[in-house]
């Protein structure tokens, strides 16, 4: 009985591994193929697409074309500025609003919470026509400011929602002790509460960052000028122009994949801990 049970569970775990390995291969295969082929000569890309580059087939010609033709350093800088500034604003303003909603009882509190939560379900893209008109009227079209404003508004609802859930868990005794010591409400927020919700902030940061970095819609509509292009839009346009230059296309794709991949591998533990902490239940 015990033997057969052990054998059964061994069989079951082998099957589980088989399915998971198969799916992992499906998930990683396209990325793998793109990256290895970006380091090959044109001939090798077509003749042996599934082989690793070797001494004979190794080539950086695609990367040279990308660096010569596209202004990817500028695009990268634009994406970085837009993402970092929006992220900072979302975290700061989101945490402040979440603190107000979770800490104080005032008239209209739950209504305000509901109002801010609307944006979780209704995508901001549906307001694009009026957003474009607003940006044209204020002269912000083709500026990074326009993108920062849009992404801040887009990120706030989820940030407020998750952070206020977490802030409800911060001990009242601690805050009241701070009040007795004469700390102002602002100090209580910045000195006591913010450091305690740091793990939640990291989760919100990852969830806010990915859609901003990857967005194509708003850069295309609000900031498609050469000097304000983001990496995502830049890669899109570049690939469109160089469709037939396979080396360049594969290299551009790899250059777009690598920064996100590195960031993800650094933050993945945080991301998974954040999700499994029950923030999204």
């Amino acid at each position: 009985m015990a033997m057969s049970g052990a054998r059964q569970s061994l069989g079951r775990s082998a099957a589980a591994h088989a399915i998971l390995i198969t799916y992992t291969i499906i998930a990683l295969f396209p990325v793998f193929v793109i990256v290895i082929n970006s380091f090959k000569t044109r001939k090798a890309i077509f003749r042996t697409p599934l082989e690793m580059p070797d001494a004979e087939s190794f080539s950086l010609i695609g990367y040279q074309t990308v660096l010569k033709q596209g202004d990817f350093l500028l695009y990268f800088q634009n994406s970085l500025v837009v993402t970092v500034v929006s992220l900072t604003l979302v975290l700061l303003f989101g945490a402040m609003a979440a603190f107000a909603l979770s800490e104080y009882r005032f008239r209209g509190n739950s209504l305000m919470g509901l109002y801010l939560a609307l944006g979780i379900m209704i995508p901001i893209r549906l307001g694009t026509v009026a957003i474009l008109q607003l940006m044209v009227a204020t002269g912000l079209v083709n500026t990074l400011t326009a993108l920062v404003l849009v992404y801040t508004a887009q990120g706030l609802p989820l940030a407020v929602f998750i952070l206020s859930e977490f802030m409800r868990g911060v001990s009242d005794d601690l805050k009241n002790a701070g009040r007795i010591d004469g700390l102002s409400e602002y100090r209580i927020f910045f000195r006591l509460v913010l450091p305690l919700v740091r793990p939640a902030m990291a989760t919100v940061a990852v969830f806010t960052m990915i859609p901003i970095w990857n967005d194509l819609w708003f850069p295309l509509i609000l900031a498609s000028a050469e000097e304000t292009k983001t990496v995502t839009l830049g890669a899109q346009v570049f690939i469109g122009q160089f469709v037939t230059d396979w080396n360049a296309v594969l290299s551009a794709l790899s250059l777009a994949i690598l920064p996100v991949l590195v960031l993800y591998l650094i933050f993945s533990r945080q991301l998974i801990r954040g999700i499994t902490a029950g923030a999204v239940k």
Partner: protein, 308 residues
């Protein structure tokens, strides 16, 4: 501490804490949303806005020049959503169930690897799959050849009858990580006592999953369904990257997002039309609102929640 027993001083700090978030959110998100709904009720004649009531909607749903494209996009969008519900969410649940088994080794590795496509941008995903499925490069036919199924190969993204399903499956490939993670989190939060009790009653393996775990994770499946719905009816980037603004071949992959983009922003020789664009955005708004309401009032309230 009873409220109202004495007059409190005005607590300005509450306003200060709320003001920046509320101001940006209202100015950039809520007002433009209503502005768009309002623009849908006007039309532009000689650069002047003229109020036309619901005429734009009549044109969109009834006038052949518009309605064909609109219904085509809506039907395609619905199919796109159905594929996600039938393929993405079951695979996500399966992977999560496997990952959550307590003695599984390397589960952190699988989790990290399977989530990678989700962090990539649509542009990367769209082009990467376009290249892999391309008959010129020959990776897909080569692989099918290796398993003896070469005859099955077709230029899937180029054929009208397959293109939309192929794109939907690419999108499933990209986003399967999200249901996987959320269900995984839900499965982990089931207390061990319940599972031990089930094992004492002789329930284990598959039976335990269907009878104990699945009912307990239904609320999470509900949340995933509504997230999928909102995401799908808002889709644009993947189709634009892989097939362009015209959502080829012959509009076979046109969804509401690409239709909205072409209409209000213009493409090739057609000029942009902000009023018809707003009308399409309003229609999308209504569709999403109906979907979210069905979920909030019809499904979520009926799901039984368990308190542990």
């Amino acid at each position: 501490m009873a409220l109202g027993s004495y007059k409190r001083p005005v607590r300005w700090h509450i306003a200060v804490f709320l003001a920046p978030a509320v101001a940006i959110y209202t100015a950039i998100m809520i007002l433009p949303l209503f502005g768009t709904l309002q623009l849908a009720l006007f039309t532009t004649v000689d650069r002047e806005l003229v109020f036309v009531g619901l005429d734009n909607f009549r044109t969109l749903f009834g006038d052949v020049r518009w309605s064909d494209s609109f219904w085509n996009a809506l039907v395609n969008n619905t199919w796109f959503f159905i594929i996600h519900m039938l393929v993405q969410n079951p695979i996500g649940i399966l992977l999560a169930a496997l990952l959550s088994s307590p003695r599984l080794r390397m589960s952190a590795f699988y989790r990290t690897a399977i989530f990678i496509p989700t962090i990539l941008s649509f542009v990367i995903v769209g082009f990467a799959w376009k290249l892999i499925l391309s008959p010129i490069w020959g990776i897909a036919p080569g692989i099918l050849d290796a398993v003896g199924l070469k005859s099955l190969f077709a230029p899937w993204l180029g054929k009208e009858e397959y293109a939309l399903t192929t794109l939907a499956l690419i999108s499933v490939w990209q986003f399967v990580g999200i249901p996987m993670m959320l269900i995984y989190a839900a499965l982990l939060s089931i207390p061990d006592e319940i599972l031990e009790a089930a094992e004492c009653d002789g329930l284990s393996g598959m039976a335990q999953f269907w009878k104990i775990k699945l009912p307990l994770i239904l609320p999470s499946i509900g949340i995933i369904s509504i997230l999928t719905f909102v995401g799908n009816f808002n889709a644009f980037d993947l189709i634009y990257s892989a097939q362009g603004a015209l959502a080829g071949p012959d509009f076979a992959t046109d969804v509401l997002g690409t239709f909205l983009y072409r209409t209000f922003f213009g493409f090739q020789l057609q000029l942009g039309d902000p009023n018809m664009g707003s009308t399409i955005a309003s229609a999308m708004f209504l569709i999403i609102l109906v979907g979210v309401s069905i979920y909030l009032f019809g499904i979520q309230t009926r799901l039984r929640r368990y308190q542990f």
